[in-house]
């Protein structure tokens, strides 16, 4: 009895256990730190940004970064073709990218989980119908389908987010369904059923929490795909519209100056790369920490 209780005491909480495995992956910790920093900067953008993101300084068109000859220390990363401070636009742009990631993942996750749970739980023709529709969505390259959806809905940030969420959703449906199918036959589900749980309670309260790990990992990876796809749509002129300081849209505006002013092209792309890389590093670490197969007991 005594040993049992001491064992009980020594057992780390789930969160502490997760952090133990997660923190062994240095890349993942760096990714998380960079991501948190980005969130911080985005939230406090008006404080960090040295200039207003859309103010045009008419005397300073295409000013190079401050450390290069001809640069000005007021404009650390230089100015764009209409004299706006690039650093300030990037800082405000972080808000758009993170917002896009959150909204897209929220829509795709909620929709995917509901559809996946329904398919896996109801089986039969409901399952077949839902999964066939997901197959159809997956038959198109995601960017192509998103482009066409935006063409139908009209270019703009909101429509781009809806399109990307719709395209990312099948992955969540498939994951949830697979997890539900493997969980639904377990004893604890049967026990809950015998105890008189209704269908909704069984689906969302009994089964869903046990399918969360792969969904969390997928959500993280979808977060970075959403940012990339939204930037790509912005770049193609189908996402956020100028003068929004969205990073992809900034790149589209900068395209014609690539051979004259490398900085207007380089920095927005670098911002996208760093953000996506940080989230992917974090996601990789999350997968390793949450996947019991990889844990060294």
């Amino acid at each position: 009895m005594a040993t049992e209780s001491s064992l009980e005491l020594n057992r780390p909480s789930a969160l502490a256990e997760f952090w133990f495995y997660f923190s062994q992956n240095k890349g993942a910790v760096i990714g998380l730190a960079v991501f948190l920093l980005l969130v911080f900067v985005a939230l406090l953008a008006p404080i960090f940004a040295p200039h207003a993101p859309d103010f045009q300084y008419r005397d300073y068109f295409l000013l190079p970064p401050s450390w290069i000859e001809g640069g000005n220390s007021d404009f650390l990363l230089g100015t764009d073709a209409v004299g706006r401070d690039i650093l300030s636009r990037l800082i405000y742009g972080a808000r758009y990218s993170l917002f896009i990631g959150c909204v897209v993942v929220a829509i795709a996750l909620v929709g995917g989980v509901v559809l996946g749970l329904t398919a896996g739980y109801c089986k039969g023709w409901v399952d077949t119908l839902i999964m066939r529709i997901m197959d159809i969505i997956l038959a198109f390259p995601s960017l192509l389908l998103a482009l066409v959806l935006v063409a139908v809905l009209g270019p703009g940030l909101v429509n781009a987010m809806i399109a990307i969420a719709l395209v990312l959703q099948p992955h969540f449906v498939r994951l949830t369904r697979a997890a539900v199918l493997s969980e639904a036959g377990r004893d604890y589900v049967m026990a809950a059923k015998v105890a008189g749980s209704g269908h909704l309670r069984l689906m969302f309260y009994t089964i869903l929490p046990n399918c969360l790990a792969p969904l969390i990992v997928q959500a993280t990876l979808s977060f970075s795909s959403a940012i990339l796809d939204a930037a790509a749509l912005g770049f193609l002129g189908m996402g956020a519209q100028p003068p929004t300081p969205e990073w992809g849209t900034m790149l589209a505006e900068a395209r014609e100056f690539i051979l004259r002013a490398w900085w207007v092209v380089t920095f927005p792309g670098l911002a996208i790369l760093i953000t996506v890389l940080a989230i992917n590093l974090f996601g990789d670490g999350l997968r390793d920490a949450l996947d019991p197969k990889l844990k060294r007991s």
């Binding site: 159809i136 038959a139 063409a151 992809g248 690539i258 051979l259 927005p268 992917n280």
Partner: protein
């Protein structure tokens, strides 16, 4: 094997019907009716409009329109481009070789570099080499390729002046396309320097398009190799005293290739999406650029046709990958 193949084909039918439904709905879902979209801002008088509606079948009930659409697809008729007045199918297949050529070069780069990198990372697991390769792969995987393309243009075309910025071949050369593949056509033309020019034009777009698949293949190869290298038969091969090269290259790699081949197949869809961006950056005259131009021009019959054809091609490629997978791995034939 035949049963496996037929089963897979049968599974494609409902998906393909769904794809046709998506393509069909696309034009009907656009705000405004199709004729007014075609007429654009000039407008159109009501009689002419009614006449056109009847000609194109838009006055029929929806289910009849859909059946007609299906019938047309089966006869290979995907409508006519509004801009060029050419059948969409003809335009598609005139431009398709350019995209295939680019994609093949990219997939070649991705496989030839990605697999060895993955194998090296797996054999040097946990070392600095492994970490550098996997770090680089993750950067490649996270790359916004439209920006990557612009950077390469700034450096190789702008600063160094080594490669051209756009197109498939220098304007100095002109010859009739035979195969549609510029590398082959330039050789067949016999013009001096044409082949070199074609390669110069191809190199940057291929690198850009190869970036993400390369990263994915390297990561997948590494994890597949790690899984296989713990197996008994690899240990046996090692115990027999075979050279490490033979153990890794023959015993381990052959078995590790099974999931990697699936990954390569799945990259085809990624490639076609990447081609939209890559072709736009490098003004590569393939279907990706054609599609973007058509969306901008509001040439919706082209978009509809391209949507259907691209989905069909991806489905066929996935089927081929499935069959190949069944051939190498008899266990799943069932």
């Amino acid at each position: 094997m035949l049963r496996f193949l037929l089963g897979r084909l049968a599974m494609l039918v409902p998906t393909f019907l769904g794809v046709t439904l998506v393509a069909f709905s696309f034009i009907r879902l656009l705000p405004g009716d199709p004729i007014e979209l075609l007429a654009g801002e000039r407008g159109i008088n009501p009689e002419r409009k009614a006449q056109l509606m009847a000609e194109m079948g838009f006055d029929q009930p929806l289910w009849k329109q859909y059946l007609d659409y299906l019938g047309n697809i089966l006869q290979g008729d995907l409508g006519t481009s509004f801009a060029s007045k050419q059948p969409v199918v003809d335009e598609f297949f005139a431009l398709f070789p350019a995209t295939v050529e680019l994609s093949l070069c990219a997939i070649f780069l991705a496989v030839v570099i990605g697999i060895p990198l993955g194998v090296i990372a797996a054999t040097k697991r946990g070392t600095f080499i492994d970490q550098s390769i996997m770090g680089t792969a993750l950067v490649g995987y996270s790359m916004p390729i439209f920006w990557w393309g612009l950077l390469l243009i700034i450096f190789f075309s702008g600063t160094l002046g080594w490669t051209p910025v756009s197109g498939r071949i220098s304007l100095l050369y002109f010859f009739e396309p035979v195969t549609g593949f510029m590398l082959i056509d330039s050789l067949l033309s016999g013009e001096e320097g044409a082949f070199a020019s074609a390669i110069q034009h191809l190199i940057l777009p291929s690198i850009v398009l190869a970036t993400i698949p390369l990263a994915v293949i390297a990561r997948q190869t590494r994890s597949a190799m790690l899984e296989v290298m713990g197996e008994d038969y690899v240990r046996t091969a090692r115990a027999k005293g075979l050279s490490p090269f033979r153990v890794i290259g023959v015993h381990a790699l052959r078995n590790a290739m099974i999931p990697v081949i699936t990954t390569i197949g799945l990259q085809i869809g990624v490639m076609l999406a990447g081609a939209i961006l890559t072709e736009t950056i490098f003004s590569w005259p393939g279907i990706g650029k054609w599609l973007i131009d058509s969306i901008t021009r509001r040439d919706y019959f082209v978009v509809q046709g391209a949507l259907l054809l691209i989905a069909a091609i991806i489905m066929i490629v996935n089927l081929i990958v499935d069959v190949l997978y069944g051939l190498i791995n008899p266990r799943i034939r069932g």
